[in-house]
């Protein structure tokens, strides 16, 4: 046996590991400009994006038809000649793509690249949260998307059936809404009349599984038909590449903010090489009818089928991306601004612990923090406001933080829901001391909200006044609706995500002391929160809304009956009618007045939500950095940034 020298062994093992780490560590020079995102990028696929930090990267590596002014967020020239040609009825936009617009591999940017990108935003599978921006505005887009989504439902159900698996009520109902159902129905033993009823759906599901139908054959027929139909149907969407450089977009109705929309990430182009990674064989569709791409497409490295790596047309391109560690962007040599860009490389670093990010900023490891959501953000706000730290800025954002009531379900988890009564909602809204929340609990310089649309952000829009706290009236209202001093009120569930902890505890306390209500706090992580909310398992839930474009409709559309984001389930015919009239009005003043009337219904009468505050977001920019401006959307183009070292 060899000599016993444990410390020598352990010590040399330690040395070996250290040497190994040393040779694996990064020895690249630091980037010209470094900034931090607390949670990392969710996705770099513009069609699937929902988060500001993703938008920020996307808008630096891609360029839309228009771009957003770094200070005001107003549309300005992008990949197309600005301003585009607009027809007198304001329904047809003709974009002329610049000759010097190039992809990062040198290819010219074509009109077809935009159609490809936009279509990805519509197709089920690639498009997710923002598809409504197309369907609300572009001719034929809604019909196409509806048709595709229905077909997906039916194809999914049939795919399951052809493999011999049962389907559930919802799948059966999706199938019953598809054209093929008439043919199927003739095969079933008896006629089925399907409304949107769960029991009927279940019965139908059972009968479909038992029916003597060759699902394999039927599925293939429907699938082939669908694939053949797609091209024809998409041609009806109001997007046309007249030639390589000319894109014509037809709108449903005049849209005063359309050029603002075209700078939004969903409207970015997509290079042709991405089709190399499309899955689903020749048809380009999965068996469920979805359009799916290999996730490799957003990475800089080479992929299968000869994919050259992510090609973009913006000022920067992605040169390295390590999961939740770092994303490095380097200047795109084919971009027209290449010569003028002071920062050739940009590092987006990830610090899960934002407090650590702030300390790294203090230590000079980082030049810019686009958000400082730390537990002591009140101190940051104070330093910024008193001018003690001129490098801390407060950005007023185009966003509202609110609590929404469940206004539809009569019972929630075996408890009666008092909030179907608008008076109770109003009483709860009147009992909230918003000033205390903004100035005592949060102390970070947010603006107290009495309205849903942030007031003053939109020229020509006059926000309603909203209501101030009035505990006496609140008690009175509660008594009128049959709950004097909160007696008889069931325990109210307040659903929120961890970041709302302090606000929700304060709210619960206010309702308990001011109204005598009993409040049950329920904190959930974002994904389970989303599910609870979608299943309406709440009485009051937190919510926030960031305006997507500069128009009141980006906020007010949420309370349209049946809107996918109408979490409170609020439905009022008068409100719907007001929005509808506004949509069809060509007179801009008239339109804004109608919208203000609609907002008044929400924030002065019916209260599907209690607006609490409009966010003020603190950001930190090192004094050595120039060319970076606070703006309401927190989109920061880095091409103008230079850092003195």
């Amino acid at each position: 046996m060899t000599a016993f020298r444990p410390f020598t062994w352990v010590g040399s093992a330690l040395a070996i590991v250290l040497v190994f780490v040393y040779f694996n560590s990064t020895h690249e020079p630091p980037a010209d400009f470094r900034y931090v995102n607390s949670s990392g990028i969710h996705t770099l696929d513009p069609a699937r994006m929902s988060w500001t930090q993703d938008f920020r990267v996307a808008l630096n590596i891609w360029e839309g038809l228009t771009t957003s002014d770094p200070r005001t967020n107003q549309p300005q020239a992008g990949a197309a000649v600005f301003p585009p040609e607009v027809s007198p009825d304001k329904l047809t936009y003709t974009f002329e793509i610049r000759d010097d617009a190039r992809w990062s591999n040198g290819d010219p940017v074509l009109a077809g690249d935009f159609i490809r990108g936009w279509r990805r935003g519509m197709e089920p599978g690639t498009g997710t949260d923002y598809t409504f921006l197309f369907t609300d505005n572009i001719v034929g887009a809604n019909e196409y998307v509806q048709w595709r989504q229905q077909a997906t439902g039916a194809l999914t159900a049939m795919d399951r059936l052809r493999h011999g698996w049962g389907i559930d009520a919802q799948a059966a109902m999706s199938l019953s809404r598809h054209d093929i159902f008439e043919a199927i129905q003739s095969q079933l033993s008896s006629d089925v009349d399907v409304n949107d009823d769960r029991e009927e759906g279940e019965a139908l599901a059972g009968r479909l599984a038992a029916a003597d139908i060759d699902w394999e054959v039927l599925y293939e027929r429907v699938f082939d038909l669908h694939v053949a139909d797609m091209k024809r149907r998409f041609a009806k969407v109001g997007l046309e590449a007249v030639d390589d450089k000319t894109l014509v977009v037809k709108l449903l109705r005049p849209c005063p903010y359309f050029l603002d929309l075209t700078s939004f990430p969903l409207f970015l182009p997509c290079h042709a090489s991405v089709e190399l990674l499309r899955e689903g064989g020749a048809a380009g569709l999965t068996p469920e009818g979805l359009v799916v791409y290999d996730p490799q497409w957003t990475k800089p490295g080479r992929g299968k089928n000869g994919y050259p790596g992510l090609i973009t047309n913006g000022p920067y391109s992605v040169s390295d991306w390590k999961f939740k560690r770092r994303l490095r962007m380097s200047a795109n040599p084919f971009h027209r601004a290449f010569e003028m860009m002071a920062s050739q490389t940009i590092d987006m670093l990830v610090y899960e612990n934002i407090s650590a990010a702030l300390m790294a900023y203090e230590a000079g490891d980082v030049d810019f923090l686009p958000g400082m959501d730390v537990p002591y953000d009140h101190e940051i706000a104070r330093l910024a406001k008193t001018g003690q730290r001129p490098d801390f800025h407060i950005c007023k954002t185009f966003a509202t933080y609110f609590m929404s009531f469940n206004c539809v379900d009569k019972r929630i988890e075996d408890r009666p829901n008092p909030f179907i009564d608008a008076r109770v909602r109003r009483a709860f809204a009147l009992a909230v001391d918003k000033n205390a929340i903004v100035n005592a609990v949060l102390q970070r310089g947010d603006h107290v909200a009495h309205t849903f649309v942030p007031p003053g952000a939109l020229a020509g829009y006059h926000s309603p006044a909203g209501l101030q706290m009035d505990i006496a009236q609140a008690k009175n209202l509660l008594e009128k609706s049959g709950y004097p001093d909160g007696e008889g009120l069931p325990a109210v569930t307040l659903l929120y995500v961890p970041s709302d902890e302090r606000v929700c505890q304060a709210l619960a306390h206010m309702w308990e002391t001011n109204l005598g209500a009993k409040v049950e706090l329920r904190c959930q992580e974002t994904k389970s929160f989303a599910q609870s909310k979608a299943n309406h398992q709440f009485m009051i839930a937190r919510g926030n809304w960031y305006g997507d474009y500069y128009d009141p409709t980006t906020f007010l559309g949420c309370f349209d009956t049946g809107n996918g984001n109408n979490d409170s389930g609020y439905s009022n015919k008068v409100y719907d009618a007001l929005l509808d009239r506004a949509r069809n009005t060509t007179n801009e003043t008239q339109r804004l007045k109608l919208l203000a009337d609609a907002e008044r219904m929400i924030v002065e009468e019916d209260f599907p939500i209690i607006p609490l505050l409009h966010y003020a977001s603190p950001i930190a920019i090192k004094p050595s950095v120039s060319g970076l401006f606070p703006n309401p959307r927190l989109w920061f183009p880095f091409q103008y940034v230079s850092v003195e070292r």
Binding site: S355, P375, D433, P498, R502, Q505, H509, L521, R522, C523
Partner: protein, 340 residues
């Protein structure tokens, strides 16, 4: 050491206690622990009323010893003008005491939160240890008594569970069973949470005990007195109750005292990750984690960090001292560290 062996022959509870008392650390631990427990229990009439009373004004993050402008009446309702002279003397003292550790970011008295938090953490630790002891000793004893294939099977299962990354399992269990259990215990969200924590933490801590108990029982099975009892026709339960359990009580007690601080520590990790006890109910881990989050280079709310962390560490150290003392007292020859 030779005396120790003689001692254990005479043995008995008294000598155990004497050995425990001879251990300086253990005695200090016991005294500290008893004091903390006593204060926490004695203050319950006030802390249960005041732990969530907020005053969103001058008291928000007020430093220790600064009394807020708002006082609370005996029912926790905020009053506007300081302490009321018509209160009983004890209440007035209690109200002044609320500011001793400062106030948190909602103007709640930190002292009024730390005291019940200590109790709650101890309850979680105790219950988790109880779960671990019950499951572990039943499992181990059953395996040993059944013997043969059953024994092999049961112990293999323990081996398999040993290979699970158990901290991950705690997290997974906590996340997975929260909803079904909450709906099962409709309306008792607090109870459901405690049960989940206890089951999740206790559910992964019983493995070592199962092994230890099995080993003890196996060796006991062949002891003459057990064989004699069996020859006299004693049943399995009789054997367990009269002969086996009293003789494995030592290792079980040792183990239980070590599981309690472990469980408290694990609860604090869960709280740090944001999946511990739900607000506004305080637990030590939760308070400490909240405090640690506010470590920064700008402004030091030192009391939000120092007091909860201090309470947590002092409780854990006291418990570990006691655990060490108990082990040395019960099993003075133990050289094999009881590792969890």
């Amino acid at each position: 050491m030779t005396n120790g062996a003689a001692d254990s022959l005479v043995s008995g509870r008294k000598s155990c206690w004497l050995r425990f008392c001879a251990n300086r650390f253990a005695v200090v631990g016991l005294v500290v622990f008893a004091t903390v427990l006593l204060i926490a229990l004695a203050s319950l009439p006030w802390t249960t009323r005041w732990y969530n009373v907020q005053s969103l004004d001058s008291a928000v993050r007020a430093a220790p010893m600064t009394l807020p402008a708002v006082a609370f009446d005996a029912y926790g309702k905020a009053l506007n003008h300081g302490v009321r002279s018509d209160w009983p003397r004890l209440d007035r003292f209690a109200w002044r005491a609320t500011s001793w550790m400062g106030h948190d970011d909602l103007g709640r008295s930190l002292l009024c939160r730390i005291l019940p938090a200590t109790l709650l953490s101890l309850i979680i630790g105790g219950c988790a240890a109880f779960v671990a002891v019950v499951v572990g000793s039943t499992w181990g004893a059953t395996a040993a008594l059944m013997g043969g294939r059953v024994d092999a099977m049961m112990m293999r299962m323990v081996d398999v569970l040993y290979s699970l990354p158990y901290i991950l399992m705690v997290i997974l269990m906590k996340v997975a069973i929260t909803r079904p259990l909450t709906s099962l215990l409709d309306g008792h969200a607090m109870l459901a949470q405690l049960i989940i924590l206890v089951v999740a933490i206790g559910g992964v801590s019983w493995l070592t005990l199962a092994r230890v108990v099995r080993g003890q029982v196996l060796s006991l099975r062949t002891q003459p007195f057990v064989e004699a009892a069996r020859a006299n026709g004693a049943g399995v339960f009789y054997l367990l109750r009269r002969h086996i359990l009293p003789n494995v009580a030592g290792p079980i007690v040792i183990y239980a005292t070590l599981v309690i601080p472990q469980a408290i520590l694990q609860e604090s990790f869960l709280s740090f990750l944001g999946i511990g006890v739900q607000q506004p109910i305080p637990s030590l881990g939760r308070l400490a984690a909240d405090g640690v989050e506010s470590v920064n280079a700008f402004v030091g709310f030192w009391w939000l960090i120092a007091f909860p962390c201090g309470a947590l560490v002092v409780t854990l150290i006291a418990l570990n001292f006691i655990g060490d003392g108990v082990r040395d007292a019960i099993d003075p020859k133990s050289s094999q560290a009881t590792l969890i």
